[in-house]
């Protein structure tokens, strides 16, 4: 009788513990949210010299173990070079996007001074962005033809 009662209490504790672990586990999953595995968004290329694209997440490239990967864009503003032309000079902006994959292969393109709207897009890039850039080549110059920026909560986070 005594042994039987002890067994019942033990079972109860076991069931309670299991239920608690289940609730905690489910709760943990719910709080984690959807996340993209960093390795899934490492730098990748497609196309050739005449036209193509490159893509990847800044967080994935930085977290990669190869020591090569990076991806990003830069933009510059160019104003007058001397006071003599300040009244007539029209400032211009242009930029570049680059990527290097796990083997050291590179892709890059130039953002034309006409692409003022693109400069606005570049300003939305942050350390956790995912970028997808396409390009084409004409007269020896490689122009970016599109820059896509994803800033979602599931993006791999740049940690260090």
């Amino acid at each position: 009788m005594f042994n039987g009662k002890k067994l019942t209490v033990g079972k109860g504790l076991l069931i309670s513990g299991g239920a608690l672990a289940l609730v905690a586990g489910v709760g943990g999953i719910v709080h984690a949210g959807y996340k993209v595995t960093p390795s899934a968004w490492e730098v990748s290329f497609s196309g050739s010299a005449s036209s193509g694209s490159f893509a990847g997440a800044l967080g994935s490239a930085r977290a990669s173990s190869d020591g090569y990967q990076y991806i990003g864009c830069e933009a510059g503003w160019f104003g007058p070079a001397s006071s003599a032309v300040t009244a007539t000079f029209t400032p211009t902006t242009y930029g570049y996007c680059y990527a290097r994959d796990r083997s050291g292969n590179v892709r890059s393109c130039y953002l034309s001074a006409h692409s003022n709207d693109a400069m606005t897009t570049l300003s939305t890039i942050n350390q956790d962005s995912y970028l997808a850039v396409s390009y084409f080549t004409v007269s020896g110059n490689v122009y970016c033809s599109s820059v896509w920026v994803d800033n979602y909560s599931h993006n791999p986070v740049k940690t260090n």
Partner: protein, 182 residues
């Protein structure tokens, strides 16, 4: 109650009069506000991109229909301003095109000062050597950084594009510890 009736009626009449007066004043001021906004430049950016002739024609039609001479003058001023904005927008785009042509069109030896020519020759040797060997390393990177500041913007751009084309073509690997471009 009867004693208060005249007071009540008087109050209602005065109130209606005030409301009417306010309405007339508001209607009279509306076009002036719109004109002030245009003249002050609040709508400068959209106007510069909008089809200016259509806007100007609308302004002229409004001016012709307006009984107020001041308003007509103001609208004419707006029309002139819209024409000016359209012209300045085109001029800005033309200037941007010229600036880009200067950058992407390349430089000639006549464009370069002696030290710029020296820097360009050195930079070109570095870039061409890397492309021939199919490899960009820390050596090329540091050598390029030494001369890059002296290069003409057009030369710097041309050399970047040379590297870009070679890279995109799969003919150049980059193993440098810093980003390839300088």
């Amino acid at each position: 109650m009867m004693k208060r009736l005249p007071i009540l009626l008087t109050g209602m009449i005065v109130g209606a009069g005030l409301l009417h007066g306010a309405s007339v004043l508001y209607d009279a001021r509306k076009p002036a506000h719109a004109a002030d906004r245009a003249v002050d430049g609040d709508v400068a950016a959209p106007a510069a991109e909008a089809p200016a002739p259509a806007l100007a024609a609308a302004a002229v039609r409004l001016a012709a229909a307006a009984p107020d001479a001041n308003l007509a003058a103001r609208l004419e001023h707006i029309e002139q301003r819209l024409d000016g904005l359209a012209t300045s927008g085109e001029a800005r785009r033309a200037e941007q095109a010229r600036a880009e042509e200067t950058l992407t069109g390349g430089a000639t030896p006549e464009d370069r000062e002696p030290q710029q020519q020296t820097a360009f020759d050195r930079a070109q040797t570095i870039v061409d050597g890397a492309i021939r060997g199919g490899l960009w390393t820390d050596n090329e990177q540091s050598a390029m950084r030494e001369v890059a500041a002296t290069l003409l913007p057009a030369d710097r751009f041309a050399l970047k594009m040379k590297l870009s084309v070679a890279g995109n073509d799969g003919k150049l690997r980059d193993t440098a510890s810093q980003p390839m471009f300088f």
